[in-house]
């Protein structure tokens, strides 16, 4: 179980604490932040796996499912079905009262020092029955004041609760905004419930949009970091999301996260049943690239369940079901978490130095097309995962201008049950479409030759190196000698 968490020991084993070449107290602290971010913003996002791409390597979040009810209906949502193997928003195994949720958070905090964030993300809307959401936060803030609090909402009820959100120090809010044109909205929202009645059609979308924009503006004015989630629905709002990006950026959204529609008839959603398809990874990337100049794009979203526990991309929710929590009182001692965060600050400063060195190495190289590479990592910014354990791959692009994270490819999509190993390898090959190089800590001979047949080279020589260090070396090694000499 412990190997699924990146943890203290993996940091210890990768040289982070060797402190070579730097005074014992000289790194960490404020120095671990990126150069282009204000310190007060960095302080808010550095431990939040969803808001800072770097943080999801180190920190864990948990969602507590205290908000089953929703005040709108979306064509991509159906909360009726629950399967423990499924990972998608709106899905949950166990509904909790605020008291049960607080107990669960305490149990996870005691067992997982990486825990830094508690979120309420449904499975309905966190602000419809706001009493449960706010009571949960109040209880947790009392026992675990070091955790950051966040919630996600469709925005309909948001303007009514801005004051409560700031009073509870909830400094991260996610609003799902799929359209900025109500006409487009009519193809996504069949109805909303607002001011004690149901609204349909254009009027429903118009009200929802007005409320979302009002909520966004007021949260930004109150200093809350706002992430906007958009579901990319090909043929419905895919092109339109450029307008959404511009509108939310103009209103001060901190991040824009474009997620692919998850559509499967088995999920029982309107889109799933009507045959509306989701975007391909290539379509998603094309849109994300077109928006690179807009509000900062989030590319590491894993579309978590509303009761997810752990690091992004893993879910330890089943270990912390209510019936498994011990009756004994858990310790609320923050020391292990604070210690862990200090260590991470140091690890990040170390990685940032490695990244800077990689950039220096790349800058004089030839100006050729970027190379796209998938890496297997358990976190810490290193190539430290065995290929056979990888359920998802991080995809990077490298050229002379630098190493850029461009997204994830998941190979465990949504229901792994019933698949054998061979099928799994085929799923991985399919997920890696368009990529010809994978860096892993290790790979067995058999999958290695099967991947080679599919035109994918798996390289082990960079095992346990930093991703930036490895990719710059790989890029340099792939260039012709005359290009290297330039």
């Amino acid at each position: 179980m412990n190997q699924r968490v990146i943890a203290l020991d993996s940091l210890l084993n990768t040289g982070v604490t060797k402190r070579k070449g730097c005074a014992a107290s000289g790194c960490g602290g404020a120095a671990d932040g990126p150069d282009d971010m204000a310190p007060e913003v960095w302080a808010k996002v550095r431990d939040h796996p969803c808001y800072s791409e770097g943080a999801h390597h180190y920190f864990a979040r948990m969602h507590v499912a205290v908000a089953p009810a929703c005040n709108i209906q979306c064509h991509y949502c159906n909360r009726k079905y629950d399967c423990a193997n499924e990972s998608r928003p709106g899905v949950v195994s166990e509904r909790l009262t605020p008291e049960q949720a607080a107990r669960k958070v305490l149990a996870v905090a005691a067992a997982v020092p990486q825990l830094s964030v508690l979120g309420v993300a449904g499975p309905g809307d966190a602000l419809h029955d706001f009493t449960r959401t706010f009571e949960t936060f109040t209880l947790v803030a009392r026992t675990l004041p070091d955790l950051k609090l966040c919630l996600s909402t469709n925005g309909l009820a948001l303007p009514d609760h801005v004051a409560a959100i700031t009073a509870l120090n909830i400094d991260h809010v996610t609003i799902t905004i799929n359209v900025v044109d109500p006409e487009v909205g009519t193809r996504i929202y069949p109805w909303i419930f607002f001011r004690n009645r149901r609204w349909t059609g254009l009027e429903a979308s118009r009200i929802l949009l007005e409320r979302q924009m009002e909520g966004l503006e007021r949260l930004v004015a109150a200093g809350v970091l706002v992430k906007v989630n958009s579901v990319m629905i090909p043929g419905v709002n895919d092109e339109h999301l450029k307008a959404v990006n511009a509108a939310v950026k103009q209103r001060g959204a901190f991040l824009h996260n474009i997620m692919p529609l998850i559509s499967d008839p088995a999920h029982g959603t309107h889109f799933g049943l009507s045959g509306q398809r989701g975007p391909t990874p290539a379509e998603l990337k094309e849109l994300q690239d077109a928006l690179a100049g807009g509000a900062s794009l989030m590319r590491h979203c894993r579309q978590c369940r509303a009761d997810a526990v752990g690091l992004l991309g893993e879910d330890r929710g089943q270990e912390f079901r209510l019936d498994q929590l011990s009756a004994t009182t858990q310790t609320a001692d923050p020391a292990p978490r604070l210690e862990y965060r200090a260590m991470v600050a140091e690890a990040r400063a170390d990685r940032r130095r490695a990244a800077k060195a990689a950039a220096v190495r790349l800058a004089p190289l030839a100006d050729v097309l970027p190379r796209r590479v998938a890496v297997c990592t358990k976190g810490g910014g290193r190539i430290n995962q065995h290929f056979g354990h990888a359920r998802e791959f991080q995809v990077y692009e490298v050229d002379r201008t630098g190493v850029r994270f461009i997204g994830h490819r998941r190979a465990d999509n949504y229901c792994g049950g019933g698949f054998g190993q061979d099928e799994n390898l085929e799923a991985i090959i399919a997920a890696l479409a368009g990529i010809d190089t994978v860096l892993a800590a290790k790979i067995g001979a058999c999958p290695r030759s099967r991947l080679a047949e599919a035109g994918i080279a798996v390289i082990q020589t960079y095992a346990h190196e930093y991703i930036e260090t490895s990719l710059s070396a790989l890029f340099a090694s792939g260039l012709a000698p005359q290009a290297l000499a330039s």
Binding site: P68, A69, C70, N71, Q73, R79, K80, R95, G124, H128, D129, T131, F193, N196, R197, R198
Partner: protein, 64 residues
């Protein structure tokens, strides 16, 4: 005059419980039900019964 919840269709999201102006909706063993003696069908409160208007499942809240 009262509404009822069809347990076979209900997803137990609790949205109706939150909206009901009469506190007529209760939960027992994870199953929601309407206390008929408390339900007014929202007459005098709202134009439409709130449980019907918020329920995400068509036909799960019906007139008894």
């Amino acid at each position: 005059m009262a509404y009822q919840i069809l347990a076979s269709l209900c997803t137990a999201c609790g949205a109706c419980e939150f909206e009901c102006p009469n506190k007529a909706i209760r939960i027992k063993n994870d199953i929601y039900f309407v206390k008929p003696e408390k339900c007014t069908e929202c007459v005098g409160h709202f134009d439409t019964p709130q449980c019907v208007a918020i329920c995400p499942i068509e036909g799960a809240c019906i007139q008894a």
